[in-house]
Symmetry: C2
Subunit: 342 residues, 2 copies
Amino acid sequence: MPPLTCPIPLQRYPQVLLAHGGGGRLMHQLIEEMFVATFQPDSAWQHDAASLRMGGDRLAFTTDSYVVTPLFFPGGDIGSLAVHGTVNDLAMAGARPRYLSLSFILEEGLPMATLWQVVQSVQAAAAQSQVQIVTGDTKVVDRGKGDGLFINTAGIGTIAHEDFIGPSSIQPGDAVLLSGDIGRHGIAILSARAGLAFETTLESDSAPLAIAVLDLLNQVSVHCLRDLTRGGLASALNEIALSAQQTIHIETTAIPVQEDVQGACELLGLDPLYVANEGRFVAFVPAPAADTALACLQHYNPSAQIIGTVIDAQPAQVILQNPIGTQRLLDFLSGEQLPRIC
Amino acid sequence: MPPLTCPIPLQRYPQVLLAHGGGGRLMHQLIEEMFVATFQPDSAWQHDAASLRMGGDRLAFTTDSYVVTPLFFPGGDIGSLAVHGTVNDLAMAGARPRYLSLSFILEEGLPMATLWQVVQSVQAAAAQSQVQIVTGDTKVVDRGKGDGLFINTAGIGTIAHEDFIGPSSIQPGDAVLLSGDIGRHGIAILSARAGLAFETTLESDSAPLAIAVLDLLNQVSVHCLRDLTRGGLASALNEIALSAQQTIHIETTAIPVQEDVQGACELLGLDPLYVANEGRFVAFVPAPAADTALACLQHYNPSAQIIGTVIDAQPAQVILQNPIGTQRLLDFLSGEQLPRIC
């Protein structure tokens, strides 16, 4: 068999760019055209969490590597993030997180005390998230060939319900709920980065979401769930709209953004809709269930809101409705806004 | 709760050393004293593969990160290695490998064609190993903060039998079988490293082991299995002896080492017993089953041998019997022999 042609145009992208990991258009292209295209023939390959039937059970299986810099930031660290991120991916598949693996890539010279602090943080976050760390691995790379430490966690969860939760289940008329205020994780990371003149007392929103999600699933039928990590709310909504081939209509004023996050974004020239979160998600539910769903989410976070609705219009896109009545298209993130946020 | 004291003595080891990932004594200490001690209270934490009961099924779950340098070497590359290593960890738990996750940490500037070559190699190795790549992740770190690309794979396998395969099942009298000649992976990596004067046409032994292992499990009762990766045969036998609290007696002359591997080791001052493999394992079986087990293993690799036996003697250790009748202790690897071999 002759070698296949690289599906990413090499003349335009001869090298990997930071934006290929940024959650925006280039990452989406890399995933769809290289990974899904290669692995799909053999499997229902999914970048978030795969749903597997094993024996009589339905399992969710997911993985994420964590390369956040700095390792410690207001409201969390790479250890807690590596637990929250992966249990949240399981929760977004409607699964109850059960088991995590934990793999370290350490750079020679990393202070042993730093590793110990991260290991304790992993264990505390796992206990809070009701998952067990059951297996692991440790690699060490030469000085200058890593960046302190990277973590990979993979997770297994159990799926108790029979609904398919994903973009293809979305229907026109569905309400779009947001589980809380956005932008705090990204701004907390930026504030912790050396050399940045800007400071804030904001803490990351990094948190495990499974308990709220499982409660929501108990109360209403849920069509789609997505956590708002790299690329923020805007990228999540665009991915869903594209995948579902539906248009999503969002009321700008309904999106909760804390005043200090808004202020920091204005100072930094960022749009909070594109800033990463690590403890926020959107849920798509049938319109009649919207109020019940909102009450459920507000029990866990009073800033949860209904922010929009799915409408029957083509092409599939995300439209922002401004308070003065104008509309604008909310596009995928182009380029790289905040590298190494998770 | 006051912060716990770091279980690794910080005055002696203030920083992570390459040897903490090398498969020898320091890695063993880090795993046992930091990871097992921290995660064990909540789980049967295992560094190789965890055995989980979910619903009516028994699953094996494992993870490994791959940081091998160079990315391409005689007989394989980081992509095939990342599949073989993880399916082999599942096989060592007596499981049939089913699903893998695939997570990349890419360094900005990595040639896109290199990534594509590795992705194709992953898919080819997965097809050969009869596993599906079902989910993944991509992170990109800044130039100079990685080393081209690192891969993590986590794997899920199904365990069909009810035996417990592990050091605690070993009995005095058990035969120790080795699945083939040793040392080729480590020597192939060394030969591929730039700046090394030594050259060889040797290829890595990197290969998936599950089919041979499942066949062996069908034919005989197996007490313990271990693949011979970092730290080689010597480290695997020492870990098993220590964990089982049994003494293992090995006939030096029974250990198959290819002549060119032996020659390369002499040139480089290496002991093949400590050199890494990626397609070799030891199996502990009851003495009456030894011949059947050997015939099974030789069907897959004619160089498989019975290399020793478990004896009822304390303290637990590994003893090498030389042809002239002398004995010596085979110890754990101290320090770091060959960094970044996998």
